[in-house]
């Protein structure tokens, strides 16, 4: 089974993003699904499959089906491979569509961690005490994802001479993209000096090395390529999908923060799509931190291991550059919907819907997903052209 023969993207729905209050994750999910169905020219009664992104808000579990009033679904699951979930949803959707068990499947991510008067950092920080040795990191003051990525970034800097300014160039470029995205949370200009002067969160990571926190939802409607061609919008085809989960067995001969799953997932997705890295025209890379972008570029093979800093230094990822990357501003500057941030912008670019930020050549769009402390990875290759 090739994913590309059985699944195409027919609809996209994105709610208002960021400090949007007075709506639960269930409410955001409903809004995004309504938008996505409207985009596809379908109605709720056409839906026979619902794949819910788990591990976000508590209500993002199988009961969301009932909360939203879906009945008689043929495919239902709450799925999670953390930030690499969308690719796994596409694999699952393709398998069930191929078997004729479902035809219109909705993928949905929703979250509402932000509350008025609660800092963004606090909203994702688990204050519950873990039992046993799992409580040791908190005892040392290790909270949330920041210290883990900071340590991976510092190790990379130590091994290869990567600099904070090189991380900053990634942040500055993405802000330039975000300034052309009306949905982006951060639209004020950002200079390298601003990046360098921003407070440290977990040194060596500055504030502007870290992603946003967002309330909102994204929904994607998928169906068979044949059905997609009969719907309201031109399909976006899923040419290839790959996954790679290096894990972390906490052994000294393993380096998951330096060598990520992008190598495997990228190889798989490109091979399935039958295209090469040099053919890719737009990149939507998971960017929980600037460092994630840099190490992902290396592991895909855009440059050699350790050369990511020098690779991004000329601004090639920014508007006007030779490798347009995170064209909506990414998680750093637009909004943070885990793997649905890069996926949604990939769909927008493949369709040519990017407006002022639309990349002229968008035949092949590569979308990455990442999760944990670089423990999970996925790759999706999108195209507006049928395989």
């Amino acid at each position: 089974m090739a994913v590309r023969d059985h699944v195409a993207i027919a609809g996209l729905g994105i709610t208002p993003m960021g400090k949007v209050y007075g709506r639960t994750a269930t409410g955001f999910a409903a809004d995004a699904i309504a938008l996505a169905l409207g985009d596809a020219g379908l109605t709720k009664s056409d839906v026979d499959g619902l794949l819910i992104h788990a591990n976000t808000a508590p209500e993002m579990n199988p009961n969301l089906q009932m909360a939203l009033g879906f009945e008689d679904l043929a495919v239902l699951n709450a799925m999670s491979a953390y930030g690499s979930t969308p690719a796994t949803m596409l694999q699952y959707a393709a398998a069930t569509i191929e078997q004729g068990q479902a035809n219109v499947i909705v993928l949905v991510y929703a979250d509402a961690p932000l509350r008025p008067a609660l800092g963004a950092g606090a909203s994702y920080t688990n204050q519950q005490r873990e039992r046993g040795m799992a409580g040791l990191p908190n005892a040392h003051g290790f909270y949330g994802a920041n210290p883990g990525y900071a340590m991976a970034a510092r190790r990379h800097m130590h091994l290869f001479g990567t600099t904070s300014e090189q991380f900053g160039i990634i942040a500055v470029g993405q802000r330039q993209w975000a300034m052309m995205n009306e949905r982006a949370q951060m639209r004020k200009p950002l200079t390298l000096e601003d990046h360098q002067n921003s407070r440290y969160i977990a040194e060596p990571l500055h504030l502007f090395d870290c992603c946003l926190v967002s309330n909102g939802a994204v929904a994607v409607v998928v169906t068979s390529p044949e059905r997609a061609r009969s719907l309201r919008r031109p399909p976006v085809y899923v040419l290839g999908v790959g996954q790679g989960a290096p894990g972390d067995s906490q052994r000294t001969d393993r380096h998951p923060g330096i060598h990520t799953g992008a190598a495997r997932s990228g190889r798989q997705a490109l091979a399935t799509a039958g295209v090469g890295l040099a053919d890719i025209e737009v990149l939507e890379l998971y960017d929980c931190y600037t460092y994630t972008v840099l190490v992902t570029l290396e592991d895909y093979g855009f440059c050699a291991k350790g050369e990511g800093g020098a690779f991004v230094e000329d601004g090639k990822l920014a508007p006007g550059g030779s490798l347009p990357t995170n064209t909506g501003g990414g998680q750093l500057s637009s909004f943070y919907m885990w793997g649905f941030t890069p996926l949604s912008e990939g769909i927008i670019q493949a369709r040519g819907d990017g407006g002022d930020r639309q990349v002229a050549r968008h035949e092949l769009v590569l979308v990455s997903g990442n999760g944990g402390y670089l423990n999970y990875h996925s790759t999706i290759i999108l195209s507006p052209s049928a395989p």
């Binding site: 005490r129 039992r131 046993g132 409580g135 908190n138 290790f142 440290y200 969160i201 040194e203």
Partner: protein
């Protein structure tokens, strides 16, 4: 080891699986699980050997020495108990037995922390039940 009067940082809660590890901290011993089948050392608590998947794991005294693999300086206060200490370090320590653990480094200023520095374990008594294993530079 005296217990600080007003220790306001999170204290781990030993459970059935980790009890031997925490008990040993009161004796200032660092224990690691080791597989009797293949000799692999592990961190933190495992249910089977991560190498051979055997289930004959034994808590075994480690040397307590290693090197700093990487570290971060945390500037943001995520727990009020650390408010007076920011920026403070958290580190990954590569132990000589081949396991990598999250800990913190004491006895060295933030700007003197270096990747690769040899360290040895030290224990800070933080409750009646346990001491927190931390690391200090060997020469420090």
């Amino acid at each position: 080891m005296e217990i600080p009067v007003a220790y306001d940082k999170p204290v781990p809660r030993p459970d059935e699986w980790s009890q031997p590890f925490f008990d040993a901290t009161l004796r200032q011993e660092l224990l690691l699980q080791r597989c009797a089948g293949c000799g692999t050392w592990m961190w933190p608590v495992r249910v089977r050997c991560i190498e051979c998947f055997g289930d004959d794991l034994h808590w075994t005294a480690a040397r307590g020495t290693g090197t700093i693999y990487s570290f971060a300086l945390v500037h943001q206060v995520f727990h009020p108990g650390f408010a007076d200490e920011v920026p403070y370090n958290v580190a990954m320590i590569d132990l000589d037995e081949g396991v990598r653990c999250v800990a913190s480094v004491v006895g060295v200023a933030n700007d003197a922390l270096r990747i690769g520095t040899p360290v040895t374990v030290t224990f800070e008594r933080i409750s009646a039940e346990l001491a927190l294993p931390r690391f200090r530079p060997v020469d420090g």
